[in-house]
């Protein structure tokens, strides 16, 4: 028998939750291994191409569930490589949410005030631009003008995009060829590597078991680099600390599969999943009305006709992010872009008598594609999602060579969720159908159920062991030394894009992981600067660190 490899810290997944913790632990002196199921691509590999097998399908993942499908990253850098890079902080009221519990869901130690210094750390590490009206795309500008016309406000959304490099090509989901998008490939991950961390792509973690000495043995398969349906025997690595950051659609599945070996999992593992209350609407604009009513014109005598141009979301309406409104009635409405391939099938024709998402009228609607404007709702859902028993491997039975698979998530929207979606639908309609500007319809939930690019909460932090799988420092209850730092840990829907909050919570989890690692004999310290050496973020959290490191 060959001896099993050993490391201090094993990180599963290389998205926000994995990259951030891996960097700090490596910089603090620990030996860190990162296992990532997807391939390792960089700017030179990214292709502006919808052909199956191009970077778009290699790095992107679409997992169909029952009532909810999840879209995410499948590559080194995780969701940060495919995402749209909108990086707002969550509004204050979100941390006070009660969900269906009748009491605060978030841990008492986390509020907007206590999280702000951690948000600052992220903002120092990932260059985030506060966008100006000059950065706002036609689609964003149109949304702003329509909001204004209906008496509402609208805000350019802060984004991790370098405006000098961005070409507004809207190929963000295929990976940014121009390195304008400040993905984790450009900050935390290279810094982690510089401190000796190792990244192993195409390594998919399946399960964890406990060794007699209290360390963990993590088992992985090797994934074929072209056809992800093909897997081969991998191996196992022993680690004193395991950081799970496979994303909210995958982390709970690994834990469920490990239950036989690790012993009983907390109740919250694979429960309370939130899709961040996401839902899309498509408006088909009347170009003449855009010119006449909103006074918008652009080069070539056009009014809009610019669906293809841009950099994902640039403007959001935040009027309903008002803490004085009742829970489940607060949401944001954000302009978005969703490319063809996945971004048209769910759009419905207006006033359908026959089928709403295919057929003759759908084809007519597609012929006006350049005049589409997509609006993204993020409402407060009720953490309805539950994962069934895990599939044989990974988190889905893969159908296509890449991208498409069938997972085990079940999501049956609560009355409050349906009502909030209906409210938001009505408001988008009210804004965009005013004065004949557009025809608006919601994406159908009848084809693949609801869908989310923002999976959250399937293994969440909290104070109450009955409803949170993790304690308030991200350690898995009853399984010391296992931490979860990805979107699964976020307790509730956020009403805004989640990556900034996922990243801030991952930053906040590091001192507790350092404490646990030291107790397990790892020589590691807390206190690395930002990946580029900047130190003001570190100063900002200094007062909070001792409490987080206390036993």
């Amino acid at each position: 028998m060959t001896s099993t490899e050993r490391t201090d810290v094993l990180v599963v997944g290389s998205g926000f939750g994995g990259a951030i913790t891996a960097y700090h632990l490596a910089a603090g002196g620990a030996k860190v291994e990162i296992l990532e199921r997807g391939p390792w691509l960089t700017a030179k590999d990214f292709e502006q191409d919808f052909m199956l097998g191009s970077s778009y399908t290699r790095i992107f993942d679409f997992t169909v569930g029952e009532g909810m499908s999840i879209l995410g990253g499948n590559c080194v850098g995780g969701g940060s490589v495919v995402y749209f890079a909108a990086m707002p902080r969550a509004p204050r009221f979100v941390f006070e949410r009660q969900g269906g519990l009748g009491r605060r869901v978030w841990p008492a130690s986390v509020s907007r005030d206590t999280l702000d210094p951690w948000y600052d750390r992220v903002a120092e590490s990932i260059p985030i631009t506060k966008q100006d009206w000059d950065d706002v795309t036609y689609a964003g500008g149109l949304w702003a003008a329509a909001c204004d016309h209906s008496g509402r406000t609208a805000n350019p959304v802060p984004a991790a995009v370098d405006r000098n490099r961005c070409t507004n090509c809207n190929w963000m989901m295929a990976g940014c060829k121009f390195d304008a998008k400040q993905s984790l490939l450009l900050n935390y991950l290279p810094a982690a590597l510089a401190h000796g961390a190792r990244i192993r792509p195409l390594h998919e973690v399946q399960r964890i078991e406990r060794n007699h000495d209290g360390s963990y043995r993590v088992h992985y398969d090797l994934i074929d680099e072209e056809d992800y349906r093909i897997r081969s025997a991998g191996g196992a690595i022993d680690a004193k600390i395991v950081v799970l950051a496979a994303g909210a659609g995958a982390t709970p599945v690994i834990l469920q599969r490990s239950e036989a070996a690790l012993g009983r999992m907390p109740h919250g593992v694979g429960r309370y999943f939130s899709g961040n209350g996401e839902r899309l609407n498509t408006a088909v604009l009347n170009e003449d009305r855009v010119r006449e009513v909103l006074g918008l014109t652009r080069e070539g005598g056009l009014a809009y006709a610019a669906n293809q141009i841009g950099k994902g979301p640039t403007v959001a309406n935040w009027d309903r992010l008002d803490g004085s409104l009742p829970e489940f009635t607060r949401y944001s409405l954000e302009q978005l872009y969703f490319p063809p391939g996945l971004g048209t099938i769910l759009a419905q024709v207006a006033d359908a008598v026959g089928p709403s998402w295919f057929g003759v009228r759908k084809k007519e609607m597609l012929s006006r594609w350049q005049s589409w404007l997509i609006i993204f709702q993020m409402i407060e859902d009720a953490n309805e999602g539950v994962f069934g028993p895990p599939p044989a491997a990974g988190n889905a039975d893969r159908i296509s060579q890449q991208m498409l698979g069938v997972g085990r998530l079940r999501y049956d929207p609560a009355e409050t969720t349906l009502r909030a979606w209906a409210m938001a639908d009505a408001e988008v309609k009210e804004i965009l159908e005013r004065d004949g500007l557009a025809e608006v319809t919601a994406w159908t939930n009848d084809v693949v159920g609801a869908y989310t690019v923002h999976p959250l909460s399937s293994c969440r932090i909290g104070d109450d062991p009955a409803t949170s799988a993790l304690d308030d420092r991200n350690e898995l209850r009853g399984h010391p030394g296992i931490f979860v730092t990805d979107g699964s840990a976020v307790p509730t829907a956020l009403t805004v894009n989640p990556a900034m909050t996922i990243a801030a919570l991952a930053e906040r989890a590091v001192p507790g992981i350092v404490r646990a690692a030291r107790e397990r004999g790892v020589e590691v310290t807390y206190g690395a600067p930002a990946p580029d050496g900047a130190t003001s973020g570190r100063r900002g959290v200094a007062e909070l660190v001792p409490t987080l490191m206390r036993k």
């Binding site: 199956l52 935040w318 296509s400």
Partner: protein, 189 residues
């Protein structure tokens, strides 16, 4: 690479063509075209390459195409019986269905309560993908070749180096009041 062979005029192929044509309809390719119903002007999913895409094993449905065609024809026969339609026996039953009945049957098979729904949704997904993104071709080449879906959608061609860049992208002026509770970094308070 997807198989480049032209679709043979088999029962399977015309059945699947008729399905794809129901998702994104097109004009007949020639006067005697039975698979494409001719319900819309311009090329539809079939002309866009739906069969090439479905036959490519990268999709994960290529192995199941015989089953798809067989089942679809079984459903079509049952549907015709139920609706009291007499079908032309010289073509497969689904192909023999008039367009509005093909549409009604596909709507039924893809409805949330149908037991085979996920199976049919997959076929619809790839049929649509052939049209809206030419997923069996390099996008730039598809545009250059006048791909009917990308052309109908008005998708702009890339620059000379094969990359997309849009130097003009912004109205470049304030278009709304900002929310009063915005922090200096641009987030909600």
């Amino acid at each position: 690479m997807p198989p480049g062979t032209p679709a043979e005029d088999s029962i399977r192929t015309i059945t699947l063509e008729a399905f794809a044509d129901t998702i994104i309809p097109g004009e007949k390719r020639h006067p005697g075209d039975r698979a494409v119903a001719g319900a819309a002007a311009g090329g539809g999913a079939v002309q866009a390459g739906a069969i090439e895409l479905l036959q490519w094993n990268a999709t994960g449905v290529s192995e199941g195409l015989d089953d798809y065609a067989r089942l679809l024809n079984e459903h079509a026969s049952a549907y015709a019986d139920e609706a009291g339609l007499v079908l032309d026996a010289s073509v497969p039953p689904f192909v023999a269905l008039p367009f509005e009945h093909r549409t009604a049957l596909v709507a039924r098979l893809t409805a949330p309560d149908h037991p085979e729904k996920p199976f049919w949704i997959l076929l619809a997904l790839f049929s649509n993908m052939a049209y809206d993104s030419a997923a069996h071709m390099h996008t730039a080449e598809a545009i250059a070749a006048g791909h009917p879906g990308l052309r109908a959608m008005g998708i702009a061609a890339p620059g000379a180096d094969g990359l997309w860049r849009f130097p003009a992208f912004s109205y470049g002026r304030p278009l709304a009041r900002l929310h009063p509770d915005t922090t200096p970094s641009g987030s909600p308070a």
